[in-house]
């Protein structure tokens, strides 16, 4: 897996650039993704966090080109940097270039897309119940992938590979002939991860892989994913609404709101100083197990209708720190502070062109949210 001689450390693995996706509906176009850019580095776990409707799953599907009408990718590119040895299979020229040129996944022909999928880019779907075929045993579902993509292997070799994959994700080989309904939720999710691993992909997109599972099983699966990642050196795009989970496992987190990325930060940065008011609100929406028990406010209001996204910053109607410019001007992702260029935030509070005030501190965030909450509580419960 690691013929990493070729890549410099700085070269990303997958670059999403300015991607927009619309769903065309009779009663208006839903702007599911607008101008989204994120970068996945080699070996990294990139977390995509957001509420339902924030576009996180749509982004996963756009990267794998699984979107079907009425969804339409209206712009942008998804650049994938393959290993030199694999480059030829993905490009029209068929030649191995001296330096690895990226391939735009959104422009691949169906044939090239086919050689990209599973071998380079695999996806683990949200619901383990629905992602497996209930009338075929899991062994056959794993060998099916291998047969399609590696036709040279014979039956026995495929079988051996399936057994090895199951063992790797912690399922006993004697379950090879089990049907999905004979497996528990956690085992099914493991089987799906085994299918994703079948061809040793570089990138695995995991769309809420643990959401339907109980906490203990969820923890086991997460530990399994991390162990496999360390062993096999693939990269992960981990999509979830559970930000507290990402703070444990993700190297980098992109927070999405109403189809846009509003903040990109490492998990330490996010833990220590979330910059975007929405990130702060999200982080403070999870009660904690330890520490003082205090009243939490959550985020007032609800996410916008994507057919009719508010002008300016789409979060401004719910933002306790919004000022005039937020209602008119769209904030773009930029470095949150001069001293570290890594943390990006799309918020006018960090833009000297809009405000000369110091960026808000955690105390200020808390006070403002509390104030909005008190005001609303008083106004509403009359």
């Amino acid at each position: 897996m690691s013929d990493g001689v070729f890549q410099g450390a700085a070269r990303p693995l997958l670059e999403v650039r300015h991607v927009s996706v619309d769903y065309r509906a009779e009663n208006g176009t839903v702007h599911a993704l607008t101008d989204v850019s994120v970068t996945l580095e080699r070996g990294q776990i990139l977390g995509l966090a957001g509420e339902s409707g924030s576009g996180k799953s749509t982004l996963g599907y756009a990267i794998t080109r699984l979107l079907k009408p009425p969804a339409e990718i209206t712009g942008g590119e998804v650049l994938y940097y393959p290993k030199a040895s694999r480059h030829a299979e993905l490009t029209a020229t068929g030649a191995t270039p001296p330096t690895a040129e990226p391939v735009d996944v959104l422009k691949l022909t169906p044939g090239h897309l086919r050689s990209l999928r599973w071998k380079e880019l695999a996806i683990v779907f949200q619901s383990a119940m629905n992602a497996l075929n209930p009338v075929i045993d899991i062994g056959a579902q794993i060998t099916d992938v291998i047969r399609t993509h590696q036709p040279k292997l014979n039956r026995r070799q495929r079988q051996a590979r399936a057994v090895e994959l199951l063992r790797r994700v912690g399922i006993a080989p004697d379950r090879l002939r089990s049907y999905p309904h004979e497996l528990s939720g956690g085992m099914r999710q493991r089987a799906i991860i085994a299918i994703a691993l079948a061809l040793g992909p570089e990138v695995i997109i995991m769309d809420e892989p643990t959401t339907a599972l109980d906490v203990v099983v969820q923890r086991e699966i997460l530990m399994e994913i991390i162990a496999l990642r360390n062993e096999l050196e693939f990269s992960v795009i981990f999509i979830t609404h559970d930000l507290s989970l990402l703070l444990e496992i993700a190297d980098k987190v992109a927070i999405m709101y109403a189809g846009r990325v509003v903040e990109v930060a490492t998990r330490e940065e996010l833990k220590q100083h979330p910059r975007h008011p929405y990130s702060y609100g999200m982080l403070n929406s999870f009660p904690t197990l330890y520490g003082p028990r205090r009243r939490m406010t959550g985020i007032p209001g609800s996410p916008p209708d994507l057919r009719n996204i508010p002008r300016g910053c789409s979060f401004h109607p719910r933002c306790p720190l919004a000022f005039a410019a937020c209602r008119t001007d769209l904030p773009l992702l930029r470095a949150a502070a001069l001293q570290d260029a890594g943390q990006l935030v799309a918020c006018h509070l960090y833009d000297p062109r809009y405000t000369s005030a110091e960026p808000p501190t955690a105390q200020e965030f808390a006070a403002r949210y509390e104030a909005v909450y008190a005001e609303q509580g008083a106004g509403r419960s009359l």
Binding site: E51, D214, V216, M282, L289, M296
Partner: protein, 370 residues
Amino acid sequence: MSIEPLRRGADAAASTSALSPSTSPAAPVLEAVHLRKHFPVRQLRIGGAPQAVHAVEDASLALFPGRALALVGESGSGKTTVARLLARLYEPTAGSILFRGKPVKGYNRAALLAYRRYVQVIFQDPFSSLNPVHDVRYHLSRPLRVHGHAHSRAQETEQVLGLLSRVNLSPAEQFIGKYPHQLSGGQRQRVAIARALAVRPAVLLADEPVSMLDVSIRLDVLNLLLRLKDQERQAILFITHDIASARYFAEDTLVMYAGQMVEGGPSDEVIQHPKHPYTQLLIAAAPDPDRPVNAPLQARGEIPSLISPPSGCRFHPRCPHAMPVCRERFPGRTDLGAGHWTNCFLYGEGDTGSTAATTHPGAGSPAKGS
């Protein structure tokens, strides 16, 4: 200590006398006493032994005005069955329910109607608990009419508007004519809460009331329920799989595993000093950004089949501290002080036997949960 399974259970006066004066607000409104529920399973073979899902064994709890009790456990732990028994949607196999100290009897229409005048359920999924062909006014006016709180259209409108503003749906005039599909998940759950409030209940049974909602909306709804508890003195049973929100919401927490109650007490005590190995496992598995993800878990696996559950303590096949005695029988309750109790041989025999804790190897100090 205010909420604990009643070991003697026969009479409510005895239970109130056991409460410590500091936290004893009043007599319990609703009590479950040694509730048991087995669901018969259809036989595949004629003449085979009758089988049943042993969903709940010996569940006892008490709810007090102005207090919340959280019932925590994984799916299959029996927590929803307990709620449905208390809501009298199921008839218990054994045990009884006491409302204001008096046993509740009868499953006929009149008896259930009288009971539901005081005890209401809030279901998990607001997308299926509201009828899509009826508007908000209909949902809220039905209980008002059925329970005789409103006698005219004018009274009805006035009370429906009042209910809507109590659940922070404002302007209420706009919401009264809306249909479920015009509302967001959070708004629907507020309507469901308003519907429960319409009968002017004393007890709310909230079965995972925020699990289906978006993250940023959960706290809003949770805080609404907190207000109903603190200001309107509702007694609330809060069922959740999220042990952190149990700590946030409820004064007391009960932990269930595979139909058995294994630990309970004041929420902070249970969560910060968990004693039962299962409680420790639940807490170790909960997301916690301050802990490395690969911190090892003490146990693995899932809840066993409840058709033929493990003997004795049902956690023993997964328990890192299991002893031979755990296979033989379920331990009695051991009081740990300050209202905290657990059913685990690591801490003693419980109240069924003598204090024989030291005779078992491994007793004393199990691994910490955090």
